[in-house]
Symmetry: C2
Subunit: 411 residues, 2 copies
């Protein structure tokens, strides 16, 4: 392996959350950044062999009441970076705090304080990613602060948005569409997608990672945060970016009254909505239409307006075939009408003996019909690059490193 590149120098790095993604990100941060100190925060006791003079662990759960005080004690140097890889914390509030303090911020998903998603007293649209995204953009932008903060920068949401741009470039070439230079503005990207005739995008993922252990019924297994998957697939509504070409509307669809109008949601959980999609290795397949931020942000980003009227918007949604154990777990949750508690959760990490996470964007509707562009990462090559991670995690953690690097280069 070649000598790893170092992308920048940060005085104080705070990693919130030491779950599967936190564990996987830590060695990459250590490998790719210079730093004075890394502080890891997690409410659970964790095994952390990395603890040293420069790596500290604080066992505490961040809450609305304590987070500022705790983070104040961490960000003491010139350059600080808050890497939020937790669930049950408010991305919006921590991001606003960081920007006020001049500290870089990145997360892989918009989160809310513990219990928000499963709180049935909160109206469904407020638990939708659309509602949360609108609220976050509104709250963060009102301060007009400048320190770079990156929201939803994992594999998906995150890396797949970069895939869409590259896929458009490739598609233009394949179709023979004249493209003297890459688009530079949001409007130019939207026009390119429109001109290429793209009607929609699936974020098409197939996870074939397997262990040879035996899951008991009512256990919930996954290759990444079970908590996170339950939030988005069970408690949040199924949700998708809604294109201008759509003539039909799903039966349970609800349109939003406020905001950018790029998405709709359905009054059922994503684990209970299946769609047909396609990934390279196994071809046509079913996927769960689980809500994901990229479905909304991609539809919004590539919207083309003329005189303030929307003239083009692609449909965009996640079409997720999780690992077989997660498929079975999800169907059991939907069937029983309840999700198992934390003591029944398991993330397949070292247990994975074979399989791949195949994650890409499937652009359809254009002259070439459909084009999939993405990452095919199997467990073997994952472990060569990053021991103790599975393929799903590495696709996320590598995107975090990319996002952190971009933030440092674009402060």
């Amino acid at each position: 392996m070649e000598t790893p590149r170092v992308y920048g120098y940060i005085n104080d790095i705070c990693v919130i959350g030491h779950g599967s993604i936190g564990k996987g990100t830590l060695p990459l941060i250590k490998r790719h950044f210079k730093f004075d100190k890394i502080t890891i925060i997690d409410p659970h006791p964790v095994e952390l062999p990395e603890v040293s003079e420069t790596v500290e662990f604080i066992q505490v759960g961040l809450t609305r009441d304590n987070f500022k005080e705790i983070l104040d004690g961490i960000f003491v140097g010139k350059v600080g970076f808050c890497v939020n890889l937790s669930v049950g914390t408010s991305s919006s509030e921590i991001m606003q705090y960081c920007q006020a303090k001049g500290v870089f911020y990145i997360d892989t998903v918009k989160e809310e304080w513990e219990g928000y998603y499963s709180n049935e007293d909160v109206e469904l649209w407020k638990r939708s990613n659309y509602g949360l995204r609108e609220a976050l953009l509104r709250d963060v932008r009102k301060h007009n602060r400048k320190t770079t903060a990156i929201s939803c920068c994992g594999a998906n949401p995150g890396m797949v948005s970069w895939f869409v741009k590259q896929a458009l470039i490739n598609l233009a070439k394949d179709i023979g569409f004249p493209l003297p230079e890459e688009p530079k503005t949001r409007n130019e990207w939207g026009k390119l997608m429109k001109d290429l005739g793209v009607k929609g995008i699936h974020i098409a993922e197939r996870d074939t990672q397997r262990s040879n252990e035996i899951r008991d019924p009512k256990e919930f297994w996954n290759t990444w945060s079970v908590d996170g998957f339950i939030s988005e697939g069970y408690y949040q509504p199924s949700e998708l970016g809604w294109g201008t070409h759509e003539k039909w509307v799903p039966k349970e669809a609800v349109f939003h009254r406020e905001g950018c109008q790029a998405a709709i949601y359905m009054t059922k959980p994503g684990m209970n909505v299946t769609v047909k999609t396609w990934c390279p290795t196994y071809g046509p397949q079913m996927g769960f239409l689980v809500t994901h931020d990229e479905a909304i942000s991609i539809s919004d980003y590539f919207t083309v307006k003329e005189n303030d009227e929307v003239v083009y918007r692609p449909t965009c949604h996640y079409a997720y075939h999780p690992c077989a154990e997660a498929v079975a777990s999800a169907l059991e949750a939907i069937g029983s009408g309840e999700v198992p508690g934390e003591e029944k959760w398991k993330i397949l990490e070292k247990e994975v003996v074979s399989g791949m996470d195949e994650l890409g964007v499937l652009l359809f509707g254009h002259a070439k019909n459909a084009y999939w562009y993405g990452s095919q990462l199997d467990i073997k090559s994952t472990r060569e690059r990053a021991p103790n991670q599975n393929a799903t995690a590495l696709q996320v953690t590598s995107a975090i490193i990319a996002g952190m690097t971009w933030a440092l280069e674009n402060p």
Copy 2:
């Protein structure tokens, strides 16, 4: 274990098919009947350590052209019994042959000659179990022959119909419904169900049998015939007995023009229709609405008519949660729009390391709301009773022995 009971003496037993059920039935037949000779027929080469002076194996596939000649060579003694445990043979034609010859007949499912179910030139309703049942009853009854022939006598269809009767008796007792003696006629049974307020019956099955081997995507694993499950769950339409209380009709429903009118079908395969149901061990769960003969025959059997008008009929359908690997296999087939070929099939027999097949009838709509009555057979007790079978198979094979015994006692 107590000395096994012997239920009768048969000169010539012919077992057609040596798949998972055939293999499991053979030792039970040997244990529970006296016989002169057992002949086993299968198109595949099979390991058959039982071959002896009294057990013969013929490797041949039965076809419309050869079956009479082959069976003529087998049924030479006074009492013959044809035990049809094959797929791809015509139950109707073999049954008619047996009745003409005075040979007992039993099968566990109505089958057609090879390729019928997957032949898209055959109209869907003719591939429905309703259509096949109507045709079989018409063809067999026209001869007015008397030798007992039993159709669809496995676990389900089969044993579960007996469960329904016992469940009604138990329910009457629980509810305090006066029942001086058990119903004797079909009409009395229908009236009892009606009077108890039963609206419908799920054949509610949960299979939790697991191996610790790893299935490759595109393989199809099951705990019983993969071929059989693909026929009923993928090639045949989803189908259910349709009760008189139903006010709503599923979107894809088709009603039949001819016959008893006890059932409807949907223009989609059962592997693509999920229903909510309930089994004791894991409570509420999802099940596939796969077509099954008992759904039609139970709805038909318990129909109450007055002056030739149907005044009561229960809804009845299968609600099948197969083993986790079969769930994943089924969803992959539905997602990809294709079923894997025979070389990708696997039946979990010796491979099963844990789990149970829980199969019962869930009667709902009455004063006690819902009542499940059935069999809970785990792999451990299965192997104590019948080595080399899994729990799913033993529930079928034991019902075959019961059916054979009944036939001998009711010639």
